[in-house]
Amino acid sequence: MLADFRRWALNDDAGSRRQAAWGRRYRIWLALKGNPLAMLGLAIILACVVLAALAPVLAPYDPTVQELTDRLAKPSAAHLLGTDELGRDILSRLLYGGRVTLGMVIAVVVLVAPLGLAVGTVAGFFGGWVDTCLMRVTDVFLAFPRLILALAFVAALSPGVESTILAIALTAWPPYARIARAETLTIRHADFIEAAAMTGASPWRIVARHVAPLCVPSLIVRVTLDMSSIIITAASLGFLGMGAQPPSPEWGAMIATAKRFILDQYWVALAPCVAILMISLAFNFLGDGLRDVLDPKQS
């Protein structure tokens, strides 16, 4: 079965578009498989996704139930990672917190990647005043450090998960637009674009069907590398009290409350710290590997 697929995908005389596409994907996978750091990253990400998805099944306790007689307990058989200042089980909160973090990251990417792609390809393809206007707007948003602008937006909108997502999305799209524009500029005068235009395709159709798909690989690399920065920004907002609000088990917010006990009960803060480090390191490993495979000119 697998051997069949392998032979079919790696066949140099692909009989159909589908076969050629799968052949490309399979080659990328093979190249990625040769990079141990990237595979480690991928494994950690998959593990985190599974753990977060199965949190209701795996978590030994309800993440919001307080047990005030058992507060700030050391890690033990009953509470594998100990309990926090309200006696809540840290392991359970960590698992549920994964859902909050991953959910926020996915929401941001879903909002941002298509927006950046659209702005960048339209600016690059049409050029002229469209390009100038769109890129000026992009420059304005690039002129703030991400966290500062996000903080100001959240302060204006009122703190919470939704405003965190919106604020990060507002600050995260310009680099995608820049990359998509750069890619578009390199292929704008290619023969196949001219050919499509000559057969009567409208400019919008060319942008959507011929230009945008070619920008996707660089965007995927950028998204993967950006994931850790999004996670860190979300956690920083939570840490500064402007992100997800208690009792939400968001990791940054957990660290913010645990900060008060760090001198005596350091394990309360340690668990979410390690969680953030692991997931963002994993995304960076994978992104680095993907860049080597998908975008050889940059490595």
Binding site: F153, A155, L157, S158, M242, K259, S280
Partner: protein, 337 residues
């Protein structure tokens, strides 16, 4: 000469447009805020007529475009309004807090460059070796840890367990208010005051936050240096220089590095801007009385004038640094001419 002037003019106009954009964005942030500035000024229990009067006095009944014009005129006068929390002019608050942040960021940048650039060169020369891999993981880790996690871990290790650094803050209580503020940089002010004890105290307090910030930014500097050096080392003139019999390091430092130095200036300027952002979070952990703490305190209390002022200032610094990097690039890189 003419094309050069022209490109300078277009650069200047693009900076002006960006600054106008900054003003629009901060104006919007100030406008969509949930806290009503009128109620903040007259209090919750003010009668209807007073509220309406205050609204008119504050110009909130004017069309948006007129309000924006007033906002621009205020900014041009360096007037960011008054902070509800500290009762001071935001501009004077910022002047008071900004040097503390700059001191932190500047020292961190110097340290990060001094360590990061050689590490990047080393990794590039030994590409693919164990050294390269170790440096790569070290950098990716620095890139992946939120700076507040680094700060907390640092505090835990060096303050709690080892007890070799002083606690939070910028100076010891006994030196508080003893040093006249001339530049706002405590290390320089203590030297000017000739107080060696206070100087070492300031250096001591700075050590941990600076180390943490520089690790945070070193990751980026090292990665970029490595990437640039790899590009430079592929050049034919490198092969030629080696073939002539020059030693490896003579070629690397004498021939390849000068070519990437210009690109590194841009990286350093961007890193400095990133450090300002990192400083915001670090300052809350170390109770460092800088712009970051001012910003977060104001955020917590819904005090929007300082938030808008600080955001605008950091945005302007960001734009200024980018412009500076651009100009340096033009001055030092003969190819641009």
């Amino acid at each position: 000469m003419i094309p050069k002037l022209k490109s300078f003019g277009s650069m200047l106009s693009s900076v002006l447009v960006t600054l106008l954009g900054l003003a629009i964005v901060t104006f919007m942030i100030g406008r969509v805020m949930p806290v009503d500035p009128v109620l903040a000024a007259v209090g919750d229990n003010a009668p209807e007529s007073v509220v309406l009067q205050a609204r008119a006095d504050m110009g909130l009944d004017d069309p948006l475009i007129v309000q924006f014009w007033h906002y621009l005129v205020q900014l041009a006068h360096g007037d960011f309004g008054r902070s509800v929390l500290t009762h001071n002019e935001v501009a004077s608050d910022i002047a008071h807090y900004f040097p503390a942040t700059m001191e932190l960021a500047t020292v961190a940048l110097i340290l990060a460059a001094v360590i990061g650039v050689p590490l990047g060169i080393w990794a590039a020369v030994r590409q693919g070796s164990i050294t390269d891999q170790v440096i790569r993981v070290l950098c990716l880790t620095g890139h992946s840890v939120p700076v507040f996690v680094l700060a907390l871990v640092g505090l835990l290790i060096f303050y709690v367990f080892l007890d070799i650094v002083p606690g939070p803050g910028r100076q010891d209580i006994i030196y508080e208010g003893m040093i006249p503020s001339v530049t706002g940089f405590l290390t320089i002010d203590t030297i000017l005051a000739g107080d060696a004890g206070a100087f070492w105290d300031a250096v001591h307090h700075m050590a941990l936050p600076v180390c943490i910030l520089s690790y945070f930014s070193m990751a980026y500097i090292t990665r970029m240096t490595r990437a640039f050096m790899l590009g430079a080392l592929k050049g034919e003139y490198i092969v030629a220089a080696r073939a002539k019999g020059l030693s490896l390091w003579a070629v690397v430092l004498g021939h390849a590095f000068p070519n990437v130095a210009v690109q590194l200036i841009t990286v350093l300027a961007l890193t400095y801007a990133g450090l300002l952002e990192g400083a915001v979070v670090t300052e809350t952990v170390f109770a460092w009385p800088g712009l970051g703490q001012y910003l977060t305190n104001s955020l917590m209390n819904g005090d929007m004038n300082p938030v808008v002022g600080t955001t605008l200032l950091i945005g302007c610094v960001y734009v200024g640094l980018n412009l500076l990097a651009d100009l340096l690039y033009r001055v030092f890189d003969p190819r641009v001419k």
